[in-house]
């Protein structure tokens, strides 16, 4: 089933179109000594044309109107314009919104390995309306993971933001335990000791999760199943652990629309401003502008 496949899997292979990108020809190193000769010499014509043919000419809706022809109530209207609203209001309430940043780890630039996901992807997997009806799965083969690693790769953020990220991910680990019987979970964070102090006794109630205060170094793909081998350091010594699925923690931050709105109103907010009593609406320095605290 395609829901278990990751992006790009649908691209068809054509025999006459190369999979590898063209390599730029260069002059030899010996030829470069004592002169300023141009190193790269440019593609020959056949290479350039073959390379250009690899382009997928990406677009989204291509305007084929198949949907339009199919729609019985004639609801589809390609000419429907954008709308502009001018609102006059007495009060403005800002929320934190949802924007999260991933810090890539070595051996895993930009989330390239199939079985490395982010905590946001796990949130989608856990959602009943999500892509897998609430099941956590390995994107590579759709199998249910038996061993999951959670790794925090960023550091140096405000304590409250760090705790928010960790609460978020530990909650996912708790949910994963409920959904997958006997799942083994390791949780590596350079801030684990500090977080333990913030979470207090509630964290002790989480059994079966191996919480590690360690620094993540590298994630590599191993074996035919493309399991993920995670290297991390604990107390000066290096450890290696292999997981069916590795979840990277993301760093929460304010989306541009929220930041921009605050700026337009002349107030300063950051992510911490939204981390108070859940659901409460609090005042700011500017009368009439409120902040809705995260739930």
């Amino acid at each position: 089933m395609y829901i278990y496949e990751k992006k790009g899997r649908y691209i068809i292979d054509f025999q006459d179109i190369p999979a590898k990108r063209a390599e730029m020809p260069e002059i030899e190193v010996e030829e470069r000594q004592g002169n300023m000769k141009e190193v790269e010499t440019g593609f020959p014509e056949d290479v350039a044309v073959a390379e250009a043919k690899r382009c997928l000419a990406c677009r989204r809706c291509l305007g084929c109107a198949l949907c339009w022809a199919e729609c019985k109530p004639e609801a589809i209207n390609f000419d429907m314009p954008d709308e502009d609203f001018e609102l006059e209001v007495d009060e403005v309430i800002l929320t934190s919104g949802m924007q999260r940043k991933i810090a890539p780890i070595r051996g895993n630039y930009g989330n390239k390995h199939m079985n490395v996901v982010t905590d946001l992807q796990v949130e989608r997997m856990l959602a009943d309306t999500g892509p897998s009806d609430g099941l956590i799965f390995r994107p590579q083969d759709g199998e249910i993971p038996k061993k999951i690693g959670f790794a925090q790769t960023f550091g140096g953020v405000d304590d409250k933001v760090r705790d928010a990220a960790l609460f978020y991910a530990v909650n996912e680990a708790i949910m994963a335990q409920k959904k997958i019987e006997g799942v083994e979970i390791s949780f590596v964070s350079p801030d684990m000791d500090a977080f333990k102090a913030s979470a207090g006794s509630d964290l002790d109630k989480v059994s079966g999760v191996n919480f590690v205060n360690g620094t993540v170094a590298e994630a590599t793909e191993v074996g035919e199943n493309k399991d993920i081998e995670l290297k991390y350091e604990v107390g000066g010594s290096e450890k290696t652990e292999t997981f069916d699925l590795l979840v990277l923690l993301t760093r929460p931050q304010l989306p541009p629309m929220i930041e921009g709105s605050a700026k337009k109103l002349g107030i300063e907010v950051n992510y911490v401003s939204f981390l108070g009593t859940p659901g409460e609406i609090v005042e700011t320095d500017k009368a009439g502008v409120m902040l809705a605290q995260n739930m």
């Binding site: 990108r21 949907c67 609801a75 502009d84 609203f85 809705a292 739930m295």
Partner: protein
């Protein structure tokens, strides 16, 4: 209490709850969300759900049923101002292209749509079609048409990559080049040196490897040169009389001049360049082995032929005063780049034999005398450091040692530049921090360094280097190059002119229009944004041209 109007920005779980709170208290609510759906952020971030509790479930049903809440999804807040009791907001909503009153949620449209793209709402775990719905059951359908593919969106000047690459596939090289030149007058140069952010986003990369977008641009540009085709020049018939001065003939200033010509100001544009030739860092930064001067000259000539007057060897602030320029021209662009090397902040930095990397490259490019004997040390891990190191190997140094505080992986330089430098014989020393220039007889003879190890990660996941105590050592060198960043020389204007100057001595501008705080004066490129990449400097120049046009036409 009288009914209030409340604007809530952000339709996550907290926004939904706030909306219900306010509407239940008898108010009217506008809920603005930039996604096509509401109710996200369901996992608690302040407590653990150990007691069998579940995630937060925002009451979307209640929102839907309540007439007092108007949900404005797929929308952004464009302006917002005012005081308690009276705020005014402008909100722009992207069209769903589906009439939600008529749609009966049958889903037939999704079945027939031939486009399969990954679903960013589901974090790419699933595919969607170009027509899709969010929040099942809400009938919230939409047709998603992007203005531009991701490569084009990522390109700072938004080159129409899909089209120019497509033309190459069809063998239509002239059409391809013309497509590029609609926006960029530097295809030969940019096609050689751009770090191509577009390629990192290219969708083909998810399948196998990204398209070689940058070098394909070089291919069509070279094709014209090698086949001795005269580049076509077409200028608009309608012209305007205002005179514009552009200070600085680098990528940003020249791109601005080109677009002003295309807008109808040809023969009224003068570029003042302090150096003997135009090109800016293309000429005196990027070394010849990456971008030959003769090739650069072709791009500059193409721009000049658009009715752009170029005066080289004229430094504003010295040969002509800024005040004179202001008097003689209707609008001014400051595109002066960032040509001053930053300090390493180590002891004895001003000793003889310690040279700023950018000054060294400039002297090498202009054929001035440069140090070239014995061994040298290059301090820095960016592309400028690679250029300094690779140039040093070529001009005669026997040994080139490069020092960087962190590891190879943290280096900001492009990986292919690092590989090339290593391949050519540059010796890399990672996790080494310079401490003090060792001086003998008033001349630098080496650098005292400290070994580092990696500590805790920072926000971006890069691990901070921390010194290892007692690990000092000295590395010998005849010349030491500092290549750790550049700042702007803003001395062409004086304090009395009232420009806002930023942290990198740059001219502060409105990031959307590139206007400075002084009326009629614009600034773009490295001198406005801080040292960056060339295509971004070009993009800034193009936007500045459009702003100058707006400003001059608005005045009439």
């Amino acid at each position: 209490m009288a009914e209030k109007n409340v604007l809530i920005i952000g339709g996550g779980a907290a926004g939904v709850k706030a909306a219900l709170d306010r509407v239940n208290a008898g108010n009217k609510v506008f809920l603005v969300e930039d996604f096509p759906s509401i109710g996200g952020e369901r996992i608690p971030q302040d407590r653990l759900i150990t007691d069998g509790a579940s995630f937060t479930a925002p009451d979307l049903g209640a929102v839907k049923e309540n007439n007092g809440i108007q949900v404005i999804d797929s929308a952004e807040v464009r302006s917002l101002a005012g005081e308690n009791g009276n705020f005014k907001a402008k909100v722009h909503r992207r069209t769903p292209r589906i009439d939600r009153e008529k749609c009966n949620d049958c889903g037939e449209c999704i079945k027939v749509c031939p486009i399969h793209m990954y679903d960013d709402y589901n974090e790419s775990l699933e595919w969607r079609t170009a027509v899709d719905y969010f929040n099942s059951g809400s009938g919230n359908y939409n047709v998603f048409k992007e203005d531009m593919p991701v490569c084009q969106r990522t390109c700072p000047i938004n080159l129409d990559i899909r089209t120019y690459v497509g033309y190459i596939a069809d063998g239509k090289y002239a059409e391809s080049l013309a497509t590029i030149r609609k926006k960029l007058p530097f295809p030969l140069s940019i096609g050689r040196v751009c770090p191509h952010p577009c390629e990192f986003e290219c969708n083909r990369g998810y399948k196998d490897e990204p398209i070689s977008i940058c070098f394909l641009k070089r291919y069509v540009a070279d094709y014209e040169v090698y086949n001795e085709v005269e580049p076509p020049i077409s200028l608009p018939e309608e012209t305007y009389p205002e005179k514009i001065a552009i200070i600085g003939g680098g990528p940003s200033g020249l791109t601005c001049a080109y677009h002003l010509a295309l807008l109808g100001y040809h023969n009224n544009i003068t570029v003042f360049e302090a150096l003997p030739a135009c090109g800016g860092m293309f000429l005196v930064g990027i070394p010849e082995y990456r971008l030959p001067k003769a090739i650069l000259a072709k791009d500059v000539e193409f721009i000049e032929k658009h009715g752009v007057e170029i005066k080289t060897g004229v430094r504003i602030g010295k040969d002509i005063s800024y005040d004179d320029i202001r008097k003689d021209y209707d609008a001014v662009l400051l595109a002066v780049g960032a040509h001053l090397g930053m300090s390493m902040r180590v002891k004895n930095e001003d000793a003889e034999g310690v040279v700023e990397g950018v000054k060294y490259l400039r002297d090498a490019a202009l054929g001035n005398e440069i140090p070239n004997k014995g061994s040298c040390i290059v301090v820095g891990g960016g592309n400028v450091a690679m250029d300094v190191a690779r140039t040093s190997l070529r001009v005669g140094f026997d040994e080139v040692n490069l020092l960087y505080r962190r590891t190879r992986k943290e280096m900001p330089a492009s990986p292919w530049e690092v590989d090339a430098a290593e391949h050519e014989g540059v010796k890399f020393h990672f996790l080494v921090a310079p401490q003090e220039v060792v001086v003998k007889g008033g001349k630098a003879v080496g650098m005292q360094c400290l070994k580092m190890e990696l500590g805790e990660p920072d926000e971006s996941g890069r691990r901070r280097p921390v010194p290892i105590e007692g690990s000092e050592f000295v590395m010998d060198a005849d010349t030491i190059f500092a290549a750790i960043g550049q700042v702007t020389d803003a001395s062409l204007v004086e304090e009395k002119h009232g420009f806002k100057i930023g942290r990198k001595f740059n001219f502060e501008v409105n990031p959307e229009t590139f206007e400075t705080n002084v009326e009629g004066v614009f600034a773009s490129g490295d001198g406005a944004t801080g040292a960056g990449i060339a295509i971004a400097a070009c993009a800034g120049g193009k936007t500045a041209a459009e702003s100058i046009h707006k400003y001059l036409r608005g005045k009439k």
